[in-house]
């Protein structure tokens, strides 16, 4: 099935950008009205993308179809878009989370400088991100990968301080190097197979040294974006440097693009039986293991709240990568599900951290005792999301942990179960002090907390909604995200 309609979620944000510019250059509108129009159009055009995704539910999930769209003459080889269960699932959830983040950013950025630029680039990033997930071949993916890299630079460097620019520079250098690896893979694979498509039946069944190099280079290139060891170094600097909504986007969603690219390479281009025979997955598994432990270890020693969350993201991206390397259904399901579960949890945590910074201007964790009484709803949401991160039942993190561990046992790598459990414990070590200080410690001289001072409802709603989403789906009999994830995983591996 082929339809132009699958580009609607990409076109809405672009339309939004045009509308924003039109409003900006229209004279004769009152200042207040203009601000309101900005806010509405930013929010609505993001929301439209999400709603337009809902429309594909019958075709993609019920009927199990795959919608493709080809532009054969662009860039010599032609670019393709496809919407299958995997990309549908990710786009649906991510556009939902993005809408919430946008809603949060309206009030968060109100006092900030150059907020117009920020909002424009958030919309552009959104478009590029969806297009990335829609990519039907490696070339298309590469195009939007680079576009995302460049566009998100603006978000990281937003504060324009020396630190932010340094962080953004490191980010863009590493990401661009990553782009080169993918380009290499494109050349090699196109040269040997004459196709770059993500096929349901993988077509690279034998390997040559060039194809081996292409595999690892492309995996690691996407890994740079995802923040796996040893290319994680940009992450704990860049994520905290960005404004909080951007951190939520970067940590929650942007690093998943890397993981998504890895899945496409591993399951839709290279044959997993060949990977299993050549033991390539073992190397990736070790890398993922190191990433998990490293992220958790790093987070323990950080006292800047956003840096701690950023390190936690490294650890969680290790979970995602680990699930992929077991090469069985449970592992892939854990991987796919955790991409969105982590997006929701981490977006919630970053927005809550941002809310604290917005109200107090403080990011040092040691000075936050008693903040639970100052911002009860924010901190309760933070607590729920953090407990979900630890993987306590009945929260989402537990389902991931369950699936990943079952994958590890089925793949006969019980060691990684221990690692996952150890990482849970370390998650507890670095999340529990925040929660305890927030709710069970009295205000002391050092702390910055004041009397009750909650953020506005526009900022609070997204935080609360995401926190609820970490357990509401688990305690009702229909876990919709998980069912979608099962559909998505089943097209990758039987």
């Amino acid at each position: 099935m082929s339809s132009f309609l699958i580009l609607t979620p990409v076109l809405f944000p672009i339309l939004g950008v045009l509308v924003l510019l039109a409003i900006k250059f229209t004279s004769g509108i009152k200042r207040e009205l203009k601000d309101k129009l900005y806010d509405y159009s930013i929010f609505l055009f993001t929301l439209f993308s999400f709603i337009s995704m809902l429309g594909f539910y019958p075709a993609i999930i019920r009927a199990g179809e795959k919608i493709t769209l080809e532009f054969p003459n662009i860039l010599l080889v032609g670019i393709t878009f496809q919407l299958d269960a995997l990309s549908y699932y990710l786009i649906l959830i991510i556009s939902f989370i993005w809408t919430l983040i946008v809603m949060y950013s309206l009030d968060y950025m109100k006092e900030e400088r150059s907020k117009m630029r920020f909002h424009l680039f958030v919309l552009l990033n959104f478009a590029a991100c969806i297009a990335f997930f829609l990519a039907g071949d490696l070339l298309t993916m590469f195009l939007f990968f680079e576009a995302l890299t460049v566009l998100s630079y603006v978000l990281v460097a937003h504060a324009e301080t020396q630190q932010a620019i340094k962080a953004a520079n490191r980010y863009i250098f590493l990401s661009l190097i990553g782009g080169l690896g993918i380009l290499f893979a494109i050349f090699v694979i196109y040269n040997t197979h004459g196709s770059l498509a993500f096929a349901d039946i993988p077509y690279i069944t034998t390997t040559t040294p060039y194809l081996t190099a292409a595999f690892f280079l492309s995996i690691f290139s996407f890994g740079i974006k995802a923040g796996i060891f040893p290319f994680h170094i940009w992450l704990p600097i860049a994520h905290p440097a960005a404004p909080s909504p951007a951190s939520a986007i970067l940590s929650g969603i942007m690093i998943k693009t890397g993981a998504f690219g890895m899945i496409r390479i591993m399951y839709n281009m290279y044959d997993i039986e060949m990977i299993r025979d050549l033991n390539w997955h073992i190397y990736l598994m070790i890398i993922a293991g190191i990433t998990i432990f490293l992220g958790s270890a790093g987070a323990i020693f950080e006292y800047d709240i956003k840096r701690r969350l950023a390190y936690s993201s490294i650890s969680q991206i290790g979970y995602i990568m680990l699930g992929m390397t077991f090469l069985n259904y449970s592992g892939v399901l854990g991987n796919v599900f955790h991409m969105t579960a982590h997006a929701a949890m981490k977006a919630c945590l970053f927005m809550a951290a941002g809310a604290i910074m917005h109200q107090t201007g403080e990011r040092d964790l040691r000075r936050m005792s008693g903040i639970g009484k100052m911002m009860p709803f924010t901190m309760l949401s933070f607590t729920i999301a953090a407990l979900a991160m630890i993987g306590l039942p009945p929260l989402t993190g537990f389902i991931t942990k369950w699936e990943l561990s079952m994958g590890a046992i089925q793949a006969d790598h019980v060691f990684y179960v221990f690692l996952l459990l150890l990482s849970s414990l370390m998650n507890l070590i670095y999340y529990s002090p925040i929660i305890i200080a927030a709710f069970f410690k009295e205000r002391d001289n050092d702390s910055i907390t004041t009397e009750r001072n909650e953020v506005s409802w526009k900022m609070l709603t997204p935080i609360v909604v995401l926190a609820l989403s970490t357990f509401v789906f688990d305690i009702v009999p229909a876990n919709i995200p998980l069912q979608l994830a099962e559909k998505a995983a089943s097209i990758l591996i039987k």
Binding site: I300, F301, I390, W402, S405, F440, P477
Partner: protein, 775 residues
């Protein structure tokens, strides 16, 4: 249809009622009295529901309910006869504790928070025992673990914070251990439903030991088993007393529940493949239980905080229960007495320990002091409390007629059975320690009782007003005290009502049942009284020397010896890892651009600057080349062309000179008058002479060009030579000119000798060439 559906709905409602109650608290959040009453109603409702369920269970058998899709796998609730005891204890004691809390918590801060977690913990604890598979059990178990943190930390002072931190850490470690076991069981058995696990569990290698140890560790943390008991004596005393009563009386039993589940449902004695595991773990649990009971009792003796004494006593009593559980596992199919005596002691302990905690809390409420040495002579002021305390104490020390007497003697019987099973000497020592610990129980309770109620009235006691019966404060522990007494009197009824199990996992084919043990015989009464009197003697001895006031040094504790180093190890491991893989990699990668830049710089130096310089020089070079090219091909040509007319003129001059002068000369010679023959000869020879002169002139020219430079310019010399040669008019003169050396600097010159040699050689060769045909 309705018959089977109705009880299931009730089961679901029972599980959900506490959670739903949480939302209703919101409406009473500002009214303390209404909230407390509401909570009493909710917990009573739960208790009634559980009673109804128990009744239904005894009539209908197992009631179960599967809730598909929740938490991905679906939940499975089931109430069996084994669960009934726990469910009744939990809901009943919880209700009494709620009534007690109304009095105790009055005026406390953070009551809403406390009661929310109170209800969620009730839901978690009840759900744990109402679960029908390991997955559901784990979920409710974790809910209970996490929310009871809030109960422990409630006071928010430093002691509570650190105790709660230790608790949280260990509870989560325990939860993770259970989770590990859960993963493995799920993988090997492919089911988690209690009644189906054992048949499907096919173990390979040492996996059975891993699973068993994981569960034992995980549930052992909650039960307070050695060596993971350390949180218990810290956390139980710091919690508000209603919570302590529940923690000590009820919640640690969920750990025991889990251990029993593990060794009867996961490793079933009815499956012969599991026997080696059960034997191993049976011994292990008995050993750990023995250590736990002895350790708890010994440490309880040295405490001065009354709640801490009770907390250590809980540790010790859990040891007793574990001995029963371990014996049951060890005995396998003959384990009936082990598990049933353990259940009996669980009931006994729940009743008397909750009662004792409430009593102690009630005393604390009057004085706000926990140190027993500050009290004395309370019997005058609080007689009813004292009676209740005595009943509870008689229960715990095993005084005949109270429930502890029955359950402890049954446990002893179970251990005895286990010893007779294989005559393992290890179990014999366990038996000895068992008896000794029973005496130690008497020691620390005598101490507690003596310092609280007997002796002189202290200043603190004098301040206490004589007690009046308060329903909320005193009714709960009074009820419990009565129950302690009743359950001690009717062991047979208790057995048939609750303890006799009928599930397949508890079908024991061999060995005695506890119904066969006649407990009220002289033998048992004698042994109990013996233990009590030994205990009293030890107490008097210790009291006389005040030994029990000694404080055990902190560094001796297992926490400082093992857990803190382990915790620190994790930290140092993390930091080393970070240093290695984060900082170093970071540095390396940060250096990489610098390195790259250096390489680039070097590369630039070689290939850029040089090339640059070369290229910069290239125009100049080109210009030079062009210049020289110009010089050669332009100036010279120019010059040549400029000179060309002049040369032409010169040539023409020369030609004109030559021919004109020659012609002139010829003309002059022709004009010369021929006078003599001599003159004629002269003229004859003159042409030859002229030619020779010309040849010599050319030679001279050659010589001048080729010869060494002189000071004179070649032109001048040529001119000179020309002049001289032209001036020679006779042949002799010419010869002289050649050989005579008169014409110095031209031909004949010592320095120019070689030239003459060439000429000589040339002439010689010429001669030879000319003459050769002749020769």
């Amino acid at each position: 249809m309705f018959n089977s559906f109705g009880p299931s709905v009730l089961l679901l409602l029972t599980t959900l009622t506490p959670f739903l109650g949480v939302f209703l608290i919101y409406f009473y959040r500002n009214n303390e009295d209404k909230r407390s009453n509401f909570l009493i109603i909710i917990t009573s409702l739960v208790f009634l529901q559980v009673i109804a369920l128990s009744y239904l269970n005894s009539n209908l058998g197992v009631i179960n309910l599967r809730i598909a899709n929740v938490m991905d796998r679906g939940l499975y609730l089931a109430i069996t006869r084994f669960d009934v005891i726990f469910a009744l204890l939990i809901s009943g004691v919880w209700m009494l504790a709620t009534i007690y809390a109304k009095k105790y918590m009055a005026g406390e801060t953070f009551q809403n928070r406390f009661y929310v977690s109170w209800l969620i913990t009730l839901g978690g604890t009840l759900g744990t025992v109402l679960s029908g598979d390991l997955f559901t059990l784990f979920i409710f178990f974790e809910i209970m673990s996490i929310t009871s943190y809030i109960l422990i930390v409630h006071n928010q002072d430093e002691e509570a914070m650190s105790a709660a931190k230790v608790y949280l850490f260990m509870a989560v470690v325990g939860g993770l251990a259970i989770l590990l076991g859960l993963f493995l069981v799920n993988h090997y058995a492919d089911t988690l439903i209690f009644s189906e696990i054992a048949q499907n569990l096919e173990l390979t290698g040492n996996m059975g030991y891993v699973i068993g140890l994981a569960f034992l560790l995980g549930f052992g943390v909650k039960a307070g088993m050695f060596p993971v008991h350390i949180w218990l004596p810290k956390a139980h005393p710091v919690a508000p007393t209603p919570a302590s009563a529940l923690l000590s009386g009820i919640m640690i039993k969920t750990g025991v529940y889990g251990i029993i589940i593990t060794f009867h449902y996961v490793f079933s004695p009815t499956i012969s493949a599991h026997h080696y595991l059960l034997e191993f773990f049976g011994q292990l649990i008995v050993v750990l239980g023995t250590i736990t009971m002895l350790l708890g009792a010994v440490l309880a003796i040295f405490q001065s905080n009354m709640k801490a004494i009770l907390a250590y006593s809980s540790v010790s009593q859990v040891g007793f229960i574990l001995v029963g559980v371990g014996s049951a596992a060890y005995l396998g199919l003959a384990g009936s007495i082990g598990v049933e005596s353990a259940l009996y002691h669980i009931i006994s302990h729940a009743l008397f320990k909750s009662s004792l905690f409430m009593i102690v809390g009630y005393i604390y409420l009057q004085t706000h002091d926990l140190n027993i040495y500050h009290y004395g002579g309370l019997w005058k002021k609080m007689p009813i409390t004292m009676v209740a305390f005595i009943i509870g104490m008689f229960g715990i020390i095993g005084m005949p007629g109270f429930n502890g007497f029955v359950s402890k003697n049954l446990l002893h019987e179970a251990l005895h059975e286990a010893y007779y099973f294989h005559h393992l000497s290890l179990l014999h020592y366990a038996e000895v320690i068992f008896t000794f610990t029973s005496s130690l129980t008497v020691v620390y309770f005598s101490k507690l009782f003596y310092h609280l109620f007997l002796g002189k009235e202290s200043d603190l006691t004098k301040k206490i007003k004589p007690e009046k019966f308060s329903i909320s404060g005193m009714l709960p522990f009074s009820i419990l005290a009565v129950l302690v007494f009743i359950t001690g009197l009717i062991p047979d009824r208790l057995y048939t009502w609750f303890i006799k199990l009928n599930e397949s996992a508890f079908t024991f084919t061999e060995g005695p049942e506890i119904a066969e043990v006649n407990i009220f015989t002289k033998y048992f009464i004698q042994s109990s009284l013996k233990a009590i009197s030994i205990g009293l003697i030890i107490f008097i001895f210790l009291k006389f020397f005040s030994i029990y006031k000694i404080k055990v040094p902190e560094w001796l504790s297992i926490e400082f010896l093992i857990y803190k180093p382990a915790y620190n190890l994790l930290f140092s491991l993390s930091s080393i890892f970070l240093w290695l893989f984060d900082k170093k990699v970071n540095q390396l990668q940060l250096q990489a651009p610098g390195f790259l830049m250096k390489i680039s710089e070097g590369f630039l130096k070689v290939f850029d600057e040089r090339v640059n310089k070369t290229q910069e020089r290239a125009p100049a070079f080109l210009m030079k080349i062009s210049e020289s090219f110009l010089k050669v091909f332009d100036e010279k040509v120019n010059n040549t062309q400029e000179e060309a007319p002049r040369i032409l003129i010169k040539v023409s001059e020369w030609i004109s000179n030559k021919f004109d002068t020659e012609i002139e000369e010829v003309n002059i010679e022709e004009k010369r008058p021929v006078t003599e023959g001599e003159e004629l000869e002269m003229t004859d020879t003159s042409l030859i002479f002229f030619l020779i002169k010309k040849i010599y002139l050319q030679f001279a020219r050659l010589n001048i060009i080729l010869g060494p430079n002189r000071q004179q310019s070649s032109k001048e010399r040529l001119h000179k030579a020309k002049k001289q040669i032209n001036n020679i008019d006779s042949f002799e003169d010419l010869t002289c000119y050649l050989y005579g050396g008169r014409y110095e600097g031209v031909f004949w010159d010592i320095k120019n000798l070689d030239f003459d040699l060439y000429i000589a050689l040339f002439i010689l060769l010429l001669l030879i060439f000319v003459l050769s045909p002749v020769v």
